[in-house]
């Protein structure tokens, strides 16, 4: 029972972080129809900036419980880059999709050098910060409190985005713009503003994900590419542009990976892509995606 719980928590923790990045990717594609390869770079940027902000907090003798809010604030603050990048992407909205891929891939390379310039080439870590939050113990079961908080934060963000998209006026405007940009524009929606907001929200999801995960991991220049591959597996499984798909895809990838590691470690990576292949064959639009007629 304890072992099963540990494995389950391991899978859900990985899924929680993956969901944030994949959700940003889905949101941007769903509304703007941009396949944003740079989502992994936002994740890395959040991780590096999170380390810097926590180090500032430590230098300012902040209490340890404050570090988690500091990390979330660091991720949100990075949203400031969203409108600038969206302005850059605006130049290719009406062009062939290959331009999107080229431009967002160029952003990946640019961000890699930006990270190198500000934080250096070596991986950065946050010492034992995550451990300072202790453990939650229920009988024989235990889980690091920090991991539980990250899972909780991810669930809250997922619920918040769901409520925002489904139950608010602005959410309806976003969905309407996603369905038919020209019609929304004709009805008076400021699509340019909507796009800037959506892209910024997508950016913040990635940066918050990176900032939240870094106390349990490390920030490295390789992390954007590492994550973006898994994020795209999530998107393929869940269906491009679907938030429910991002949630389901992240859980499937996280739990499949955890199960593979336990039962046959050699299949850790293969297991995920077997699911991707099965989904592509059986349901090409993904579990929650809309089939293209």
């Amino acid at each position: 029972m304890t072992a099963f719980f540990d494995i389950l928590i391991g899978g859900v923790f990985h899924a929680a972080v993956l969901f944030l990045v994949a959700a940003g990717l889905q949101l941007v594609f769903g509304v703007q129809k941009i396949v944003n390869l740079a989502c992994g770079s936002f994740y890395a940027l959040g991780a590096y900036f999170g380390i810097t902000c926590v180090n500032w907090a430590i230098a300012g003798h902040s209490p340890q419980w404050l570090f988690l809010p500091v990390l979330i604030a660091a991720g949100i603050a990075l949203g400031v880059i969203g409108p600038f990048i969206e302005a850059l992407l605006r130049t290719i909205y009406d062009r062939d999709e290959s331009f999107q891929l080229l431009l967002t891939f160029a952003l990946v390379l640019i961000f890699q050098d930006v990270l190198r310039f500000f934080w250096g080439a070596n991986p950065q870590q946050l010492g034992n910060l995550s451990m300072s939050y202790g453990k939650i113990e229920i009988g024989a079961l235990s889980v690091p409190t920090y991991n539980a908080l990250v899972i909780a934060a991810s669930v809250m963000i997922a619920t918040g985005i769901g409520a925002f998209l489904q139950r608010t006026r602005y959410g309806r405007i976003l969905r309407a713009t996603a369905e038919n940009r020209e019609m929304s524009e004709a009805l008076g929606v400021n699509v340019r503003w909507v796009y800037a907001c959506v892209f910024t929200l997508g950016t913040v999801l990635g940066t918050v994900g990176g900032a939240l995960v870094v106390p349990t991991a490390a920030a490295s220049l390789d992390m954007p590419v590492e994550l973006v591959v898994e994020a795209f597996a999530v998107v393929v499984i869940g269906g491009l542009g679907s938030m429910r798909g991002a949630l389901a895809g992240a859980l499937i990838v996280g739990l499949m990976r955890a199960a593979a590691i336990v039962f046959y470690a050699e299949l850790e990576i293969l297991a995920i892509y077997l699911v991707v292949i099965v989904v592509l064959i059986a349901r090409p639009a993904g579990l929650f995606g809309k089939a293209v007629e």
């Binding site: 540990d6 928590i9 391991g10 920090y146 995960v213 349990t216 991991a217 490390a218 220049l221 955890a258």
Partner: protein
Amino acid sequence: MDSTRRTLLKTIGGAGTALAAQPYLTFPAIAQNRPLRIGIIAPKSGIVGTIGECGLRGTQFAVDRINAAGGIAGRKVELIVEEETNPKDSLERLRKLVLQDKVDCVQGVVSSGVSLAMGPVAEEMKALLIFWDGTTQDGVKETMANPRYVFRSTDNECEAVMASLLAIKYWKGKFATIAGINPDYSYGRNNFAAFQALLKKFNVEFKVVADQWPKVGTLDLTSHVAALKAAKPDLVFSSLLFADLPVFMKTAHGAGLMDGGTKFAFPAAGFQHTLLKKEFTPEGMVFGHNTLYFDLANATPLQKQFVQEYETKYKDYPHWEADRAYFAMQVYRAGVEAAYKAKNAWPSTEDVINAMEGVKVESLGGPGQMRKDHIAEQTFYQGLTTHKNRYDFATLGQVDTMYSDQLQKPAGADFWKWIETAQIKL
């Protein structure tokens, strides 16, 4: 007249420098026509960036000392540093160093993937190449049985062999189940296999209850740790060595893997020693510092000077890549100077190579030599960790020292057969 006086003053100055340069030999100015160019290929970024950086600092320390002492056989040393990345691009940089920069020697390389590709090319180009840490083994099988221009470091498996021997020495009879978490490439797989082979050799009965193979750079190891914990091993053997190692230790500590008296053997942990904080690194684990243990009580004056300068300059403590880089430079220096002395003229590359075969040098971590088959022998340090020190990270309480002739196969031997038949002392 002025010119003559200036030349005379230069000669006197040069002689003074050379005289001050003990224990280096002195050489006439005839050889000092241009600096010796040495190309360095080392990673400066990514997950192995810290390794390359430490190696570059070891090289710089060696070159500063050599130049302060008048150079190699009277010629100052000039470094040309190129970045080690993937094999294809690193090969292009090797060609650039040899063909365009016309370097006298190339040193460096951390990744075995790069060194495996680079070795045959260097042979073809007849370029003298001394690897810091890269090997020319495919798995544990030597791919360049009789290299002429390529010299390499000790076998990668030396670290695992020593950690295995220490685990047996300290814990034989105290464990029955083992688990491994090792990087998913030949280094990690060979190390875990070597550990098991040595357990069999020393008649230790064991059962492998888990083996994890995260790919290098995996920074979320929560599920791997959960799998290890579920298997309840008595001993965990891990060759993790890059940024993933501190992440593993933190995750393992957080998950309670270290709570139940589990034993840990980490042959390559020294690469990350300053990041392995006391809070999550247990005492009493087998910990490999390999060819340089920075806090060695009876270290040589050379090591003490290096560690002190390193701490002052970089606010950090060096690991064994600095030693490998220093060793490579000293082997080259010793080879050039021996060849020069024998010939009494500037030696050719072939003369230098002949002189390097069998040469003995004092490296940062202790004595070492270059075998006739172009494979290094060096002094290794591992031991059991302690928290009783002035640092915020674990160091060695019990230090064990072994020379690599007890840890690596002799020239031409098969690694697995050597393990079976070698007279290895615990």
